[in-house]
């Protein structure tokens, strides 16, 4: 019941939330006995200060764009998909099957196949939670949490019993066929004559992530399905009045969400590891929650928030390297604080800001 200027809602409040989260993080760093400004400098320097760092930042960003979009799409339908972790793991299985099973002549053929497989497997892993929510009202948060754990177990089982080449000790699949190798930043930019370092794992999946952002934006704001999803998310009762089927919206939004999470494997499994590892997701499914919250469930916001978290992740790795007393768990703390301030404690910031603007308007 208020008329806040739009920029307050989409920019100012998230910004204040972020500043609060960073302030508290700074206090933690201070408590550990390091200089927060110095730590900040290392993070920024390490993530943006060199082509090398940027390459890693963008690699992480790619992961977080996928999982962030996954959470965001579900949020639009007021579904809280905590299962990105499991869906991304399963997406990895799909991608691995494609990259191991076919002797691809060229990555341009392998990539679409892997996208389809990753999306299908990811969506498949959200199918049962979605169905149970839609048909039986089983809380999606609980079921997706359960499915994350089931996915971990399934992953170990699959790797140990099916993917692991005989005689190998580590639970990981064989290396993917050479034809499924995605051009890295080094190679791709090399075609344009740009010299980009060899090691960072950023690869053409980054482009796929950007395309996914555009497609999600189109879906949510330009298609009739997106219209229905948003209507359902904003008012379930009104949606039923309009003849929008709750079953259909829950299923569709959760399947799209799962598919997006599964797509993350194209970057991490196919693009980076080039084999299926046991924890290829590394918590990115959860980072997606923070990303979607910060990004206000809008693809552009998700992209920016994913960049922020990519920066934190890469910077965090450098931080650990440079300041041994600040381990990379610092990033997990920052992530928790961002989720706390932008998600759970939103009203703490929003109410005073709202009051301020309402009073200012009244004053005029």
């Amino acid at each position: 019941m208020n008329k806040l200027p739009k920029w307050v809602d989409v920019a100012l409040i998230p910004f204040i939330n972020l500043v609060l989260a960073l302030l508290v993080s700074g206090l933690v760093v201070l408590w550990i006995g390091e200089n927060p400004l110095h730590a900040m400098q290392i993070i920024v320097q390490g993530s943006l200060g060199s082509a090398y760092g940027l390459g890693y930042t963008l690699y992480y960003t790619t992961n977080f764009v996928f999982t962030g979009l996954a959470v965001a799409v579900a949020f639009q339908a007021r579904m809280f998909n905590i299962g990105g972790e499991g869906q991304a793991l399963l997406g990895g299985v799909g991608v691995a099957i494609i990259c191991l099973g076919v002797n691809w002549p060229h990555w341009l053929l392998a990539l679409p196949a892997a996208i389809v497989a990753g999306a299908l497997f990811g969506a498949g892993w959200s199918l049962i939670p979605a169905y149970l929510q839609a048909k039986r009202g089983s809380h999606i948060v609980i079921t997706t949490i359960m499915f994350n754990f089931i996915a971990y177990s399934l992953m170990v089982y699959l790797l140990v019993n099916h993917f692991k080449p005989a005689g190998e000790m580590a639970p990981e699949s064989a290396a993917f066929v050479a034809g499924s190798h995605l051009p890295s930043g080094h190679e791709a930019l090399g075609w344009l004559g740009i010299n980009f370092p060899k090691s960072p794992p950023v690869n053409v999946s980054f482009i796929v992530a950007l395309i996914a952002c555009v497609l999600v934006w189109l879906l949510i704001w330009r298609t009739r399905l997106g219209y229905a999803i948003r209507a359902f998310g904003l008012s379930e009762t009104a949606a039923s009045y309009a003849g929008i089927s709750s079953f259909r919206i829950i299923m569709v939004s959760m399947l799209i969400s799962g598919a997006l999470a599964g797509l993350m494997a194209v970057n991490s499994v196919m693009g980076e590891a080039e084999r299926l590892l046991i924890d290829s997701v590394q918590g990115a499914g959860f980072v997606g929650i923070a990303v979607a919250l910060m990004g206000r469930s809008h693809p552009l916001g998700v992209l920016l928030a994913a960049l922020l978290f990519g920066l934190l992740y890469q910077g965090g790795a450098e931080l650990e390297f440079e300041l041994p007393s600040v381990t990379r768990e610092m990033i997990v703390v920052i992530q928790g604080l961002v989720i706390l301030f932008t998600g759970a404690l939103e009203n703490m910031v929003r109410l005073p800001v709202e009051n301020y603007f309402i009073r200012r308007k009244a004053g005029n």
């Binding site: 905590i82 609980i142 949490i145 359960m146 768990e329 989720i339 998600g343 759970a344 404690l345």
Partner: protein, 322 residues
């Protein structure tokens, strides 16, 4: 299977289900009061770390436990402030708390002890040691009763018994006291409580704090009773499993005990046998055993085996004036 193996398995089940039980009862108080809590995991972890850390520093497991409980209660308070005072999303708050606990424990652990985020190994008074119940050694040689009593029932740390006692106590508090009545009411219909002249906020904070306390005990048990020190992420999903047990138990203390024992038993089996041969079924991989609690919970949630109806006002912030 001979008696010895069974006793061993049950013995192990008791040990393994104790942390689940604490967390499950913790969740029970919170959710019965209408506050969903997926941050049980984080509270367990925080408590595990701080109890081990303080036990290591002070040499006293009791001081350690107090520190663990304090940490867990502080996290519970954050959850309370977010979800009661500021009417935030309880699920998001829970997620945030899990992250905070996971990050802070490793970070502080490394900072304090510089051994990779773990605490030094605890020994002597810095740990909860098994207590022998009266007559345990005297009865040990009596057939059947002997092993059952002196191996299975006796010889656990004090916290295991506290956990078991917490079950009837919780039942009694919920169903036999004024506080319990109000607590259950506030999770079903906070307006009824409010118009009855009782503060919804206060009740919910109380429930959250009890939740913190119990998670604190669970964490202390994890690090100073079951293990001899803290290692990174040692709660390893137990908080979520407790949540599963809570749903499985349909938010009732007695069933909660059974659910936790069942999950503990599954874990005990999974630890001992890397694969299990079942006649007619074939080999059951250990991963299936590990996933079984979650699968069972999904089946319950799906409503195929009885319906788990959560407290009606659960997860919804109490808003009096829009």
């Amino acid at each position: 299977m001979d008696l010895l193996v069974v006793v061993q398995l049950l013995d192990s089940m008791l040990r393994l289900s104790a942390p689940l039980l604490f967390a499950c009862l913790a969740g029970l108080y919170s959710e019965r009061a209408g506050i969903f809590d997926i941050g049980l995991e984080g509270k367990l972890l925080a408590s595990a770390f701080f109890s081990a850390a303080f036990a290591a520093i002070t040499g006293s497991v009791w001081l350690g436990m107090a520190a663990g409980i304090t940490a867990s209660v502080l996290l519970a308070l954050i959850h309370g402030v977010a979800s009661i005072t500021f009417r935030g999303n309880q699920l998001i708050s829970g997620v945030a708390i899990n992250f905070l606990a996971s990050g802070l424990t490793a970070l502080i652990g490394q900072n304090w002890f510089k051994i990779g985020g773990r605490t030094p190994s605890l020994s002597g008074d810095a740990r909860f040691l098994p207590v022998d119940l009266p007559f345990a050694s005297a009865l040990a040689d009596v057939p059947i009763i002997g092993p059952l009593y002196s191996d299975l029932i006796s010889g656990h740390t004090i916290l295991v018994y506290v956990g078991l006692l917490a079950v009837p106590t919780t039942w009694w508090i919920l169903f036999r006291t004024r506080f319990g009545l109000r607590l259950r009411a506030v999770g079903e219909n906070p307006e009824a409580v409010d118009t009855g002249g009782i503060s919804v906020t206060r009740l919910r904070y109380q429930a959250t704090l009890i939740c913190g306390l119990l998670c604190g005990l669970g964490g202390a048990y994890l690090a100073t009773g079951m293990a001899a020190g803290f290692i990174k992420d040692m709660s390893a999903g137990k908080g979520f499993m407790a949540l599963a047990a809570l749903i499985f138990a349909k938010w009732r203390p007695g069933y909660a005990l059974y659910a936790c024992l069942l999950f503990g038993l599954l874990e005990a089996i999974a630890i001992r046998y890397q694969s299990i041969q079942i006649a007619g079924v074939g080999t059951v991989p250990v991963q299936f055993m590990q996933a079984l609690p979650y699968i069972l919970t999904i089946i319950i949630l799906a409503g195929f085996v009885g319906k788990a109806i959560p407290p009606r006002a659960g997860g919804v912030p109490y808003v009096k004036e829009r």
